[in-house]
């Protein structure tokens, strides 16, 4: 860092804060007085974001921020991690050791590799107390939720609610003007900025709200165990990370909806978003890149996720946090200490950061390309069924199309008629569970099993990327009940009038191509609606 006097610190700070404000101001999505939930993970970027908001709301900031913040922290990275260590980011990004005084560090504690639940209760409680200590200094309403609470979520969290009527730029300006006018009036009347009228500042003396479940008690052991069981059953780290991300998103969404927040801010930095874009690409989420990495993500309808830190690189965040003593809490992530080849996320991160060392504009190039993506499905039909897990419009084609999806659902090696040496009589396709190594207490291949139907039902409601992830989840039973309940509800909604005609055991699956992980092939009906495969078997041609 240049050491030409101390003036550079002020310049850097001004530049950093300006970027934050500029991103918010340019997009004009956050209206004055709006309730915004800050998703804080304890990590550097989200800590920096929370700090920016704190400073931005203080009286002496140049132009005060006008929204009403709250903070949410999701506790629950325990499911997999067995050892704790600093996340291994490329050395360049962290030029100074992150052991300075303002950063709260958990002392190293080695567990045996392969322990099912990494953090012991004591460590978890300690992390929580550190988290709470920081949250209490903020002065905003804060919510701490444990990941185990996913088992108590209602199915409605997966539904896209109607969005609030969003105004145009004109409306934004009008809203700002009227807000300012209201402020002036209040000040003129000598009321001052009382919390009730201004809604813009939480008094430090205001008791901090928190969830009804007091966190002095840890979550019930049954739930923790169920969570461990779920994550242990997932075969690859990639799928685990995706699942964790999905569950966390649903949890935060639920908190936002319950407490009336219409916006959620996440602290994704430019570097993280570039990595996320490339990762999403590799996971088959090319259709949704604009939602996954853009400034605003409106897929949930009433709650909009915004990413105000998207123009800050991880390096800048690190410097800022170090220079200006931004408190953060280190919590081990699901892939801390995992080898680099373990998951697509880690691979992509390692690759991009290494390439960045050789071509210094890699991250910014990827980021700039991400800005050119638009939120439009390629064939123009925006209103279609939505993915059960990620809530984006489904991006799967018909099974016999000349596309990557079609290629993976077709199976031409089964088209051979069985020779006389094969089993005579009705050919029974071995139960798929034997092939993909699922629950051993299945039918042992004697008949196509019911489990397959319910799994196929869920798979059919997922987008391509989520389907690929589910291939690594051998059984859907450990999933939290709200997911399965919503899947059940949606499949019934699809075909109510034929429900009564459906037989429970659909026999003769010999012509099913590509069921199992990819779901039964979609058949296009007259009006473009998909017809459940089991119906076709009952229809005599």
């Amino acid at each position: 860092m240049p050491s030409a006097g101390e003036a550079w610190r002020d310049c850097f700070r001004a530049f950093y804060i300006h970027k934050f404000r500029a991103v918010l101001g340019k997009n004009r999505l956050i209206f004055p007085g709006e309730k915004v939930l800050l998703a804080w993970s304890g990590g550097p970027s989200s800590s920096s974001m929370v700090w920016q908001v704190l400073e931005g709301l203080s009286r002496d900031s140049a132009k005060r921020l006008r929204f009403v913040p709250g903070v949410v922290y999701v506790d629950g990275t325990c499911p997999v991690v067995s050892t704790r260590r600093l996340r291994r980011v490329a050395p360049r990004t962290w030029p100074y050791p992150i052991l300075g005084s303002p950063v709260v560090m958990i002392p190293f504690c080695l567990h045996l590799e392969g322990a099912a639940c990494g953090q012991s209760r004591e460590d978890r409680a300690k992390t929580l107390s550190d988290v709470k200590r920081i949250l209490q200094t903020l002065g905003f309403p804060w919510h701490v939720v444990t990941l185990e609470e996913v088992f108590a979520l209602p199915p409605s969290v997966l539904r896209c609610s109607a969005p609030e009527p969003v105004g145009t730029v004109g409306t934004y300006k009008v809203a700002v003007d009227s807000f300012l006018q209201q402020q002036h009036t209040l000040e003129a009347e000598g009321v001052g900025d009382s919390p009730s009228s201004a809604q813009g500042e939480a008094q430090p003396s205001q008791p901090c709200t928190q969830d009804p479940q007091d966190l002095a008690e840890p979550p019930p052991a049954a739930q923790t165990e169920a969570l461990s069981r779920l994550f242990d059953s997932v075969k690859t780290l990639t799928a685990k990370e995706e699942l964790l991300q999905t569950l966390r998103t649903h949890l935060i969404l639920h908190v936002a909806r319950t407490h009336g927040y219409s916006k959620v801010m996440t602290g994704d930095s430019c570097t993280r978003l570039a990595i996320k874009l490339m990762t999403s690409l590799a996971l088959g989420r090319g259709a949704f890149l604009a939602w996954d990495t853009g400034f605003s993500d409106e897929r949930h309808g009433d709650v909009v996720v915004v990413r105000p830190m998207r123009e800050h690189t991880l390096k800048e965040v690190a410097f800022y946090n170090r220079l200006f003593a931004v408190p953060s809490v280190f919590t081990p992530a699901i892939d801390t200490k995992a080898p680099e080849k373990a998951s697509i996320h880690r691979l992509m991160e390692g690759f991009l950061l290494r390439l960045q060392a050789q071509f210094p504009s890699t991250v910014s190039t990827v980021y700039r390309t991400s800005e050119k993506l638009v939120k439009a499905p390629r064939d123009g039909c925006a209103s279609g069924p939505r993915c059960l897990l990620c809530m984006c419009s489904l991006d799967v084609d018909t099974a016999d199309s000349a596309t990557a999806f079609g290629a993976q659902t077709q199976d031409f090696s089964q088209m051979q008629p069985p020779t006389p040496l094969a089993e005579a009589g009705a050919p029974t396709v071995p139960c798929r569970s034997a092939e993909v190594g699922r629950a051993p207490n299945c039918c042992q291949g004697t008949r196509p099993c019911r489990r397959e139907d319910s799994r196929a039902r869920v798979i059919k409601q997922l987008c391509y990327g989520c389907r690929v992830n589910m291939k690594d989840v051998p059984s859907l039973d450990p999933l939290p009940p709200y997911i399965l309940a919503e899947a059940q509800l949606r499949s019934q909604r699809l075909s109510p009038e034929i429900q009564e005609y459906l037989l429970e055991n659909s026999d003769d699956k010999a012509h099913t191509s590509g069921s199992g992980a990819w779901g039964p092939p979609e058949q296009e009906g007259k009006d473009g609606q998909t017809v459940c495969d089991c119906i076709n078997k009952n229809i005599f041609n």
Binding site: G284, G286, S343, T403, Q408, S413
Partner: protein, 357 residues
Amino acid sequence: MPAPQCASCHAARAALRRPRSGQALCGACFCTAFEAEVLHTVLAGRLLPPGAVVAVGASGGKDSTVLAHVLRELAPRLGVSLRLVAVDEGISGYRDAALAAVRRQAARWDLPLTVVAYADLFGGWTMDAVARSTAGSGRSRACCTFCGVLRRRALEEGARLVGATHIVTGHNADDMAETVLMNFLRGDAGRLARGGGLGSRGEGGALPRCRPLQLASQKEVVLYAHFRRLDYFSEECVYAPEAFRGHARHLLKLLEAARPSAALDLVHSAERLALAPAARPPPPGACSRCGALASRALCQACALLDGLQRGRPRLAIGKGGGARDEEGPPPPPPSDPGSAPGPADGECGAACKERCE
């Protein structure tokens, strides 16, 4: 432990496991399935109508060999006739041996072969000459940039010479996956917008081209070539190590280790990308010099050759100069001038077919 029975014919012993599904198949059933899949791609994508005269870009490598072989098997069913077109870029120590392989194949399959050479088409400029011309500037030589663009022109010329109506190339799923990764890493929004389908329909007088092997993974192509005992040339191009594509290829190998379906997942992503209208290339016109399809006054081939003739080989490379991208202001100069991610690999809408193995 003896191999299991073939899952398809239940008669022979399985000889391989399909990389995609893990299914155990005997050689014959696998090849049949592979051919059926390619047929399906062609039919479902409506790539080659009956009566088409198809120019197969034959390099002697495994992909074009497999492509030519499969299409030859399917030609009666599709009702198309085939011509082999090979391009001689003038890379000594590489292309001569590859061309020998193509000639052997043409003789064995009894297909007409036409060889077009850069030296004839482009005023004496072979790739070796281009490499000498672009060397020594301190930056990468960008040979693949020239080669990719010029080869496509050459292929088009060759196809016209034989009276073809369609051009097919042997790009497989791994190629397309690498292409989309590479285009993102280099920020090539124009190519991202153009790519993703099974080929291009051929606007403005250009011949329609397609990639029937696009949904087949590289491993399966190699397996097919093995089981059909095809004779192909498998060394890498002399200039390949310099290509930026190498990074994308390395990344794809890593991704496939973590998730075997990575290549097809990337192809799916590429199919579904939605780019802003401003990022898309403008509707194509005709090159003012040679009349070929071009999105600017000069087609890229003419622009590159122009630069070479003038002794300024980088004239048409990169942004801000007769560049292929439609970006507005040029990006800020990279902090390290010798290592900018300058377009070091030739792309114009599809993958560069030459790859290091």
